[in-house]
Symmetry: C2
Subunit: 197 residues, 2 copies
């Protein structure tokens, strides 16, 4: 192996160990485990992080940048209206947004040829957003992102902006999108299994 190959093998091993540890500690994203397991057994690919979608109450500071904003609540599962409604009652200093964020996956490989194989499989699976975010010989990194989302302000200057009935509608929609993401991950897994080696 040349030095580039050695570096890639080490990177792949490191990410595999992190993933394995997360699985053991039950911190890994369940919906992604079969896909990550498969990728870890290929020769040329690794996964470095994933999230099958999440529901948030995000507290934004004045500039609305994510940096400096605060997860008032973060759920990696369907939610109940009451838990969201109750969390809304708590005092916060910033502006609260109800968010459903899409699935995200970071996938790595060693060269442009392999990157293209993955790129085509991702497109075939119908995942719309994302692409190669690092492109160096020996290390190519993808960020893959779904499109299922909700993003809406729900509390500002201490005042709740939405009726409970409307929040119930948002919660129903967000939960349905979490379920849809599960199906999208299955489609992605199927396409990657066809071509990744």
């Amino acid at each position: 192996m040349n030095s580039e190959e050695i570096r890639f093998a080490m990177t792949k091993k490191r990410h595999f160990e992190t993933f394995n540890k997360a699985v053991k500690e039950k911190k890994a994203d369940k919906a992604f485990i079969p896909l990550c397991n498969f990728v870890s057994k290929t020769k040329n690919f690794f996964t470095s992080s994933c999230c099958s979608g999440r529901i948030l109450l995000l507290e934004l500071q004045k500039d609305e940048k994510k940096l400096g904003s605060n997860f008032h609540r973060k759920w990696h599962r369907p939610v109940k209206l009451e838990e969201v409604w109750n969390a809304l009652q708590e005092n916060v200093s910033g502006e609260l947004w109800f968010k459903m964020e899409p699935l995200i996956l970071h996938l790595g490989t060693d060269n442009l040829e392999h990157a293209n194989i993955a790129l085509m499989a991702i497109k075939k699976a119908g995942v719309k957003r994302g692409g190669i975010i690092t492109a160096k010989q020996g290390k190519f990194l993808f960020e893959i992102e779904g499109t299922q989302r909700i993003s809406v302000p729900v509390k500002s200057k201490g005042k709740i902006l939405v009726e409970k009935k409307f929040l119930a509608f948002l919660v129903k929609k967000a939960n349905a999108k979490i379920k849809k993401n599960g199906k999208a991950i299955k489609r992605l897994e199927k396409e990657l299994k066809k071509v990744l080696k």
Copy 2:
């Protein structure tokens, strides 16, 4: 020039003509014109499409896929509460979502080395999403996407789900985000000008 270089020069020329035509017909996205103008004068890069952000009333059909959904309204500018509120009153068969979508830019180049130069400038400009979506020798294509967005259902089964006061808040937020996008495009333009040739 070899055949790859000839093909790239032709692609670049074609996109430049499309852009020029759009400018003449006043169909080009104003906030992006200086950036696209600059890129068109480089040797190794072209832009193929751009949008500085838009505000939508999107009518989704049952499966919520964008395919088959309908732009009930589409604005590439700040909006007034009354025009959104009035559009909400009209009959639609699907579910209406109020959306503010982020800036988007498609940028092309000829090889991996140049793609990396652009990738670093994009990161430096603080544009968070997107990457290389086509990676063939002779043709590399980026999709660059901002993160400023709102996405919320506002009408379902013929019933308006939001109060006018809340819609006013959403409109104010969406208009502020359009303005923010203008600044992000300026930052991107500045970083690209430093390194693209």
